[in-house]
């Protein structure tokens, strides 16, 4: 529902724009196009056609990109972004959860202060700048000092790709590489993911750690923790068995929201690293005033975000029995 409302909002200012694209065409052609796209019809009719087109799989055509269907572009670029986002998130969670716990448990001790500064910087850091720094440090500097360096961008090395062609299944090169036993590609793809993945995950991690810490502190103040301690349980068990589950509840919700930030960050990161995902695609679309593509982009983002929140809701219900059983 949200996506539809939104796409309407997006479609609205944009639809008006569509006409200015075809300045080069003659009057007649212009008129034909206008009628074909129902542009002279009232708004709600346009919207109706828009939605029905969407459902039929017609997400518009990119005028700028030699009339390539938008949906095709999305299909081409989406898996790359998905892969990047997944890797970043996994990494961020793997590091972020323990960091949050430690920070809360050792409140006001050095570990806590370090973590807090770390996450504060992460929240204030411009992603694209970090990406550039990483490129500079790990690609350029290492190269000129003759150290093995991490790639500056792209998804796989051309040469590796040529030598070991990949049978693409999911579109995610790491997974496909594993499945088909093509370890050269697997490794290469992984290496290419390191820098952008790190940049992206740092931002996400920062938000997550802050939330985790706060949530954990809240929980540790609760009465049932005192009861748990009075049972004679070791502090470790108290933290991991009793406190953690409760602390995860609000954190999971926030993680869903932060996921949006991950998507936004992906746009910037992909641009810097020339990573062929929908983020980079969208920026080039915008720069070229490719309206249809932009609309498609908005739509897919909305869909992805909705799905992420759905997953969050499900997780929420799974962790908190109060929600499950009403």
């Amino acid at each position: 529902m949200v996506a539809f409302t939104l796409s309407h909002v997006v479609g609205d200012p944009v639809a008006a724009y569509l006409t200015t694209q075809d300045v080069k065409l003659s009057e007649q052609q212009l008129q034909r196009i206008v009628t074909a796209h129902h542009l002279d019809d009232p708004l709600y009719i346009q919207y109706f056609y828009y939605v029905s087109d969407l459902l039929r799989g017609d997400w518009g055509i990119s005028r700028v990109d030699s009339d390539r269907p938008v949906l095709e572009s999305i299909k081409m670029y989406f898996p790359a972004t998905a892969e990047l986002a997944l890797v970043s998130m996994v990494f961020a969670l793997a590091l972020g959860i323990p960091m949050g716990i430690i920070s809360a448990v050792r409140k006001d001790k050095p570990a806590d202060h370090v973590t807090r500064v770390f996450s504060l910087v992460g929240v204030s850091m411009p992603v694209f700048w970090l990406a550039l720094l990483l490129q500079y440090a790990f690609y350029y500097q290492m190269k000129i000092h003759n150290l093995p360096s991490l790639p500056a961008g792209g998804r796989v090395d051309q040469f590796v790709w040529m030598d070991h062609p990949l049978h693409v299944i999911t579109g995610m090169y790491t997974i496909d590489g594993l499945i088909t036993g093509n370890f050269a590609i697997f490794f290469d793809a992984l290496v290419h993911l390191i820098l952008p993945g790190f940049a992206l995950s740092y931002i996400f991690m920062a938000v997550f750690v802050r939330m985790m810490r706060g949530s954990m502190l809240e929980v540790l103040r609760q009465d049932y923790i005192t009861l748990a301690r009075s049972k004679g349980l070791s502090e470790r068990i108290v933290i991991y068995r009793h406190a953690l589950r409760n602390a995860m509840i609000p954190t999971v919700t926030v993680a869903g929201l932060a996921f949006g930030g991950l998507l936004a960050g992906a746009v910037l990161t992909e641009t810097v690293f020339a990573y062929p995902g929908i983020g980079r695609w969208s920026t080039s679309a915008i720069v070229r005033d490719d309206i249809a593509s932009i609309m498609g982009f908005m739509l897919i983002i909305a869909v992805v975000y909705m799905m992420a929140n759905l997953i969050v809701d499900l997780l929420y219900a799974w962790i908190d029995p109060r929600i499950r059983l009403g």
Binding site: D223, Y224, T226, L227, S230, K231, G232, N246
Partner: protein, 383 residues
Amino acid sequence: MAETILEIRDLKTYFYTYAGVVRALEGIDLDIYKGETIGLVGETGCGKSVTSLSIMRLVPDPPGKIVGGKIMFKGEDLLSKSEQEMQQIRGSKITMVFQDPMTFINPVLTVGDQVSEVITLHQDLARESVQTKIDELQEKIVQIDSSSPDRQRLMGRIKELEALKDNPPKPSRREIKKAALHKTIEMLKLVQLPDPEKVVKQYPHELSGGMRQRVIIAIALSCNPDLLIADEPTTSLDVTIQAQILALLSDLKNKIGSSVLIITHDMGIVAETCDRVGVMYAGNIIEASETKALFRRPLHPYTQGLLRAIPKLHEDIENLEIIPGSVPDLIHPPSGCRFHPRCPFRMDICDKEFPPLLEIEPGHSVACYLYPEKKTRGGRAHD
């Protein structure tokens, strides 16, 4: 004299806060005998809960700290034990029941999990798991025909297991879980929860307040503790449930043979359930005696005030009596006897030094200068 299981001497617990040092406990003396129910009464903020937390050494640190004294539990000083050793005592030898069953139960774990946890932690379930196996087989036998050869086989197996009972093998994880579950259901039956098999799988929010409190009691009693500390166990419950819970507690206490320390501000509960009672005021125990004696002849002016303030059914009063003044600030407590600013019998000596707790009559001690030493046993006497 009956056997003493807990002796507290001169216990001092302070809280170090931004506003200053809160002297929550300023030298408490208390004895608890085996098998008795002793009450600890006082107004809110007098240090009753802090006492219980100090015994368990669960005082939140920061900002709290036990700064002095001894707590002798069965001959050993709890204050000198390591955290590991305390963890072995908590939940099995000394356990606690808390005030508010809403907030004191973990909402994301099942009832069964929370009870089994204590059992699995503190008990060696080797024997139990063998027993559980036997019970399972017994159930199976009932369903089988008496003539079938399977029966013979099963009975043979049972005999084997019975033999193992004296020297049981180390059980596997699954067996432990099963045995613990078994015991958990037993405990839930013991606290009179209806349909224990169902409750075991339920989550706390599916139960009523009274039921939840029973669960907490089950947790506390599952390892047959020597001492059960009940901190205002019925304050958040309905009056009708209150009576049930109290009856349950005394019933179980007798079955298991534990001592119970009930902390409350309700003199009614004290009168109903306690053998002895200690009265606390602003961080000190100012009177201690057998319950009947206290009610019949309260010695300390504060106790007298407390009892006077409770309207009694047979009296016809116009106004409720109060004790004038208010509870002192524990950061800057009054000097000497902390009650002296509000005491109608104040003497000169009262603000100089805190009066020692002296036994005036057998089994009845009070800390007040009104009562000169009649029967002393070298300074700090206790009943």
